[in-house]
Amino acid sequence: MNIDIDDILADLDRDTTAVDQTLTSQGQNDTTVFGSDVPGSDKAGGAAVSPVRDFEALMTHWRNERLSPELLPYPHALMARMLRRVQEQLEHIECISMGYLETLGEEDNDAAGDSGSNSNVLNKLPLLCMEADLERLKFVLRSYVRCRLAKVDKYSLYLRQLAQDNERMVPLSGLLSRQELEYHERHSAILLKLLNNTILRHMPPELQAVDDNEGSVKMVEEPEWDRFVFVYVRGPSSPRDPDPALEVGPDGQCFYNVMIQGLREEVELTVGGIYVMRYNVVRELIMEGKVELI
């Protein structure tokens, strides 16, 4: 009951408190950068997932994205949930920090001689931890988004080519978030305009293309599919569902059989092992979450 009233008060006071303004504006900044789209769009799935699981999934996405040569698909639902949670937590912390002042006043009034400083610390401690906790989440989100933006820049021409290619299974809007897509389109338009105005205009027409893949050297930079990466073989996500790709060796060890195309060589990836592998060899397994990049 009390908490409800606090919430309402905090809502009313939001615009008048200086501290709150910085917090809210910060929140808005974050959302514009991360692009939280349609809060509450994932309400249906929201009930079944726990914040802890989501955070673990986000950590895996972050680590895979940082280490993989290509741009991985954007986890739309997960990111929407995470951004909504950041917003909610920001508001929750604001409410507590205001309600907390109130509690202090009560304690002083009560002044039952009970160790006032002790309860003071006990009141501050959760707040301290919750702020640290929120900062940690924001760090991962920021780092993840920045890493993706770096890749969008790097593969700008390649992504344009993908967009034109109609036979692809995943549309570009599945690979990128709405904001990333907009950024990509505008950035590459500006870049092409610059190239055109400064150099290409002055070249003979047959040398003006920037995406000519016919010659001996391809002009569109593709992700380096066969680059080596460190992988950890995690195995199927839950031990109960049988995984058809998983094989069991004579000594009871589970492994995945993969084929290195260039060398025509078969390798067994034992569950729990760490390997250095070509990215394209394990790409399928990474997409399915059975192998993680480390």
């Binding site: 009951m1 009390n2 726990s50 914040p51 802890v52 955070f55 950590m59 680590r63 940082r66 280490l67 040569p69 949670r85 950041v86 937590q89 929750h92 507590i96 309600g99 907390y100 509690t103 309860s119 610390v121 006990l122 009141n123 401690l125 959760p126 707040l127 301290l128 931890c129 919750m130 640290a132 906790d133 929120l134 940690r136 989440l137 760090f139 780092s143 920045r146 890493c147 933006l149 770096a150 820049d153 066969d226 680059r227 080596f228 990466v229 460190f230 290195i260 260039g262 060398l263 060589e265 390798v267 729990g272 092992g273 760490i274 390997y275 250095v276 592998m277 070509r278 060899v281 480390i294």
Partner: protein, 209 residues
């Protein structure tokens, strides 16, 4: 650039520490947050915990001197505030570390099964919770350093096995992988290029014959 070039395709040591700090560790809290059932006041005397990256249930049910598992970063934060003591993990004691060292010395070809985050955890606990460890910290530090040097030596030996196909490196910790990464990947990528150019050449020779 949106991501600095030096952390593209790898992690910084600080980020490795960040990853490891999410791992659980046991603590002895020195305060209680579990709300007593008497409930004579409408409002609890302290703020409730609500977290977005970790499970907040154990933190709302802390009972003084009863072990609880929380994330490492939380444990270190509480420790810093003098609100808990950390239960050092079982492998972080002299006798256990000596066993690992013996294993490393006996088996030249493989690594002992230390936890994947041993270096970082040891480093953090030495600097922030030295008084909670089972043994004097300077002795433990010595053992950890020994282990690290033995393993580094093995890694150095293993580098001559680098090839263009693949490599298996079980039981290597995250920090060790991270420091190995630029060199190993660089060499293996180059070997792969050399190999593919050789096989192309052979292919074209066959063609001409």
């Amino acid at each position: 650039m949106s991501l600095p070039w030096n952390i593209q395709e790898t992690f910084s040591p600080e980020e490795i520490q960040f990853i490891v700090e999410n791992e659980p560790i046991k603590i002895f809290p020195r305060f209680t947050t579990r709300v007593s059932l008497r409930g004579d006041r409408a409002k609890p005397a302290h703020t409730r915990w609500k977290l977005v990256t970790a499970d907040d249930h154990p933190l709302n049910n802390l009972v003084a001197i009863q072990t609880t598992e929380v994330a490492l970063w939380m444990a270190l934060l509480l420790k810093q505030q003098g609100k808990c003591s950390i239960v050092a993990p079982g492998w972080l004691r002299l006798s256990q570390l000596q066993k690992y060292i013996d294993y490393e010395l006996k088996h030249a070809e493989r690594f002992s099964e230390l936890p994947w985050n041993w270096l970082v955890v040891a480093q953090l606990l030495f600097s922030k919770a030295a008084d909670d460890l089972h043994d004097p910290v300077h002795l433990l530090r010595g053992k950890i350093q020994d282990l690290r040097e033995i393993r580094l030596g093995k890694i150095g030996q293993g580098l001559k096995h680098l090839n263009e196909s693949h490599l298996q490196l079980d039981n290597l910790s995250l920090l060790e992988i991270n420091e190995l990464r630029p060199f190993v990947l660089g060499v293996m990528n180059k070997l792969k290029q050399v190999h593919s150019s050789i096989s192309e050449e052979r292919g074209s020779e066959d063609y001409y014959e």
